[in-house]
Subunit: 139 residues, 2 copies
DNA sequence: CCGAGACGGTTCGTGGTACAAACTAATTAG
DNA sequence: CTAATTAGTTTGTACCACGAACCGTCTCGG
């Protein structure tokens, strides 16, 4: 296989990014998964199940995740009248605040990581990454 | 910040790679962290503490990690005569087999993800990723 | 040389994460 | 109107991670 270098580079890069994410989350006493959840809830008010689908988690895992976030006031459960089985998950102001702050710190961290790259290279990297991402979604 | 796109692209790409890693690990009933450990042990026979440093884990976490891997016959504890406090962690043949297989599957997965990129672009992506990685190590 | 402290690992207690299986309440299908 | 399905919760198990307390083993200063 010629592309061992690519494999290594992408693996290491992913750890770099994930570690940054985890470190920033930890700064606010959040886990990676909680941060991801808040990120989703910034733009959506999904059902438990939809949330689970977004995060790739079992419904029982979602129950616990939402429980803990709710206990900390980051999230609320909203019952629905139409179908009384389903409950929506909604982010609170406090959760939104945390999410925004984490996102900002993360952006800053990535900016620092890529500061040595000239703007053209940054654009190229963005474009290539996006090509890989869209390629992964089509099949 | 102009580079929101870069931030998003790198974050998503990292999840793509990590999910692939986790999925492949899970196929062999391994966790991501166990896979990382085996990957390290392929080329090293470190002390508990060194292993912890490589993985960024507390020594108490390493004890448990090695316990579980040892129970499954992937790893052994090797006492040292020179300093009877330290114990080395050594990969077993079975562990090596699993690590090799996982690495192969991962490489294949990445190859599939990047199959749509022409070779030149793959090389560019590798080079850019490596620039970011080395940049992160120097400070 | 020997006792105080440093060091490497383990153990224990706590809490987050994840799943599967069993369960409840509500809805929908036949 | 009953039977099957669906959304979510609960329970039990296992992993992961940490800090604090602990046990042997070294090492160093006096």
């Amino acid at each position: 296989m010629i592309d061992d270098d690519l494999v290594d580079a992408l693996a290491q890069l992913s750890f770099l990014v994930q570690n940054a994410l985890a470190e920033i989350a930890g700064r606010h006493d959040l886990s990676l998964i909680q941060t991801r959840m808040l990120g989703i809830l910034r733009d959506h008010e999904p059902t438990m199940q939809d949330l689970g689908r977004h995060l790739g988690l079992d419904k029982s895992s979602i129950s616990g995740l939402v429980d803990r976030a709710q206990r900390r006031g980051l999230v609320t459960r909203v019952p629905t009248a139409a179908d009384r089985r389903v409950t929506l998950v909604s982010i609170t102001d406090e959760g939104r605040r945390l999410a925004a702050q984490g996102a900002a710190e993360f952006a800053e961290h990535i900016a620092a990581l890529t500061a040595t790259l000239p703007p053209d290279d940054r654009r190229t990297l963005t474009a290539l990454a996006n090509r890989v991402i869209t390629a992964s979604r089509i099949p």
